[in-house]
């Protein structure tokens, strides 16, 4: 196979712009800012066209010139290119002209958008010669590191808060990873993992591989634009934990504009967090210049429960600079959001998806998001991993004998219940409007 061309020049500090080689580095030694990959867009522009991209396999690596690996894809070559689903019934329910769901609940192989970042991070980690990898995670990242490491024959250590949902714990354990539950918050886990990376010399994807890792999120933005027929949406609503994803979606759109692959347009980027852990939303709403960390997150939305988000200030800037905004729905609204998405689109999202739907509802109701827009909701994780969140919403299922008589009797009973429920809801409504 011919040698791959390399389209990135090195790393660059996001704060002071100091340049670094494309090595295992992640913090600027001058100002402590985070490092970001520095691409050669002139060279990329010469080789990357819509036709080139469209001729490639339907996975995230169809945009490989815009991803920071030097050689072939060695981990996660099937990740991405998830469906972009037009959701008319959800649009109607939310009161928006057009809604699209970017459905990463079916991303390969571990049913969350994290497979995108892990694919890049582990491919890059192998280029550096690492054989042991790991992460600090609220669950989805751990699942993805564990699975992708297993497929690549790498040893994995994933560190998680000890109170995660069972689906997220099993979803790491089954791949043979060493799963370590830490007594504490995600921020405690993160601090420990950065110490582990330093002492053991492992590739911790979201710490010392972070500049490469984070770039994987751009593919969600690239795919949205391509799937909309090479155009940018009016607005995007995305969940925020560390805050990296919305920044990278915005970056992806800007890169496509820079390369002439889409017409110039500013998509308003909106962020969603849970009320019980909302440091970035708080920064936006209070018009503050800095993040006030949340010491003890208190929400069912565990995947977003990062109290001191690494990219928080950049996420806030992205919302401000694009004309977006943010919302922080309650856990009750989140559960209602999960159900609304499921009942109108057939997509079962995890709690972060419920937050995204619920935040969109708030944004439309407050007028912050123009009802006459085309909006893309980034649904980043699968509901089968966080079943606990909605388990209390449903009654136990009914049991009947296997006879048609019993089934018909059961139907009659259901019909009666529905009539009662309808009656109750009508009388409640008439009270409400009286």
């Amino acid at each position: 196979m011919a040698e791959q061309n390399v389209y990135f020049k090195g790393l660059k500090c996001r704060e002071c712009a100091k340049s670094f080689p494309a090595d295992v580095l992640y913090v600027c030694d001058e100002c402590f800012g985070p490092l970001e990959v520095d691409y050669d867009y002139d060279a990329i522009g010469k080789v990357l066209s819509r036709n080139t991209i469209e001729s490639r396999q339907p996975n995230m690596w169809r945009y490989r010139e815009l991803l920071p690996i030097a050689g072939s894809v060695t981990v996660g070559e099937h990740v991405g290119y998830t469906p972009l689903v037009k959701a008319d019934r959800l649009a109607e329910a939310l009161g928006v002209r057009e809604v699209w769901v970017k459905n990463d609940t079916v991303n390969y192989p571990t049913l969350s958008f994290k497979d995108r970042v892990v694919s890049v991070a582990l491919s890059r980690a192998r280029e550096f010669g690492f054989t042991t990898v790991g992460c600090a995670s609220t669950g989805n990242l751990a699942n993805s590191v564990a699975a992708n490491a297993a497929s690549a024959g790498l040893k994995a250590y994933v560190l998680i808060p000890s109170d995660l949902e069972i689906g997220k714990v099993l979803g790491s354990f089954v791949f043979g990873a060493t799963v370590v539950g830490i007594n504490g918050t995600y921020d405690n886990v993160n601090r420990l993992v950065s110490e582990v990376a330093g002492q053991h010399g492992w590739a911790m994807v979201n710490v010392n591989m972070r500049p490469y890792y984070a770039e994987g999120s751009k593919t969600m933005g690239f795919e949205i634009a391509e799937q909309l027929g090479w155009q940018l949406p009016d607005a995007v609503v995305s969940p925020m934990a560390g805050g990296s994803l919305i920044c990278k979606i915005d970056k992806a759109f800007k890169e496509l504009v820079k390369l002439g692959l889409v017409e110039e347009k500013t998509s308003a980027i909106y962020g969603a967090q849970a009320k019980g852990c909302n440091p970035i939303i708080d920064m936006v709403k209070s018009e503050s210049d800095w993040i006030k960390p949340v010491r003890t997150p208190d929400t069912i939305v565990k995947s977003l429960a990062i109290g001191d988000p690494a990219d928080g200030i950049y996420a806030a800037a992205t919302m401000r600079n694009t004309g977006g905004w943010g919302e922080d729905p309650t856990d009750e609204e989140t559960v209602a959001g999960i159900r609304l998405l499921a009942e109108t689109t057939g997509i079962f999202a995890e709690t972060a998806g419920g937050v995204t739907v619920a935040a969109t509802k708030r944004l439309v109701n407050s007028g912050k998001l123009d009802a006459d827009s085309s909006v893309v909701l980034c649904i980043t994780g699968n509901g089968l991993k966080t079943k606990e969140a909605i388990a209390g919403e449903f009654r136990e299922i009914s049991h009947i004998e296997p006879t048609l008589d019993e089934f018909n009797a059961y139907l009659d009973e259901l019909k009666n219940q529905e009539e009662v429920a309808l009656h109750v809801s009508h009388s409640t409504n008439s009270h409400a409007t009286a």
Partner: protein, 91 residues
């Protein structure tokens, strides 16, 4: 107020290797300005062009992140300890 300031490893070349230096001032910001005045090169590392503490430099006052208090304007007392801690990437 006389306080002790803990210097992180990457900045100790600017304090002749010292892990801690003495600082003076009424607030965290004033203490940091004071030590910057006495150690060449430190100011550029801790403060940006506008004079604000760099965004990826976290400051702790007696083991409490000042973002939980009143930020750089948090008042200090005699004998307090201010720690300069580079932010941790992740998440």
């Amino acid at each position: 107020m006389s306080v002790t300031v803990r210097i992180p490893t990457p900045l100790r070349n600017l304090t002749d290797g010292a892990e801690t230096v003495a600082g003076d001032g009424q607030t965290v910001a004033a203490v940091l300005s004071d030590i910057c005045a006495r150690h060449d090169g430190l100011k550029e590392r801790l403060f940006d062009e506008s004079g604000a503490i760099r965004r990826f430099v976290n400051i702790y006052l007696n083991s409490e992140d000042i973002r939980f208090e009143n930020g750089p304007d948090t008042p200090v007392n005699d004998g307090d300890e201010v720690s300069i801690i580079p932010a941790i990437a992740g998440g």
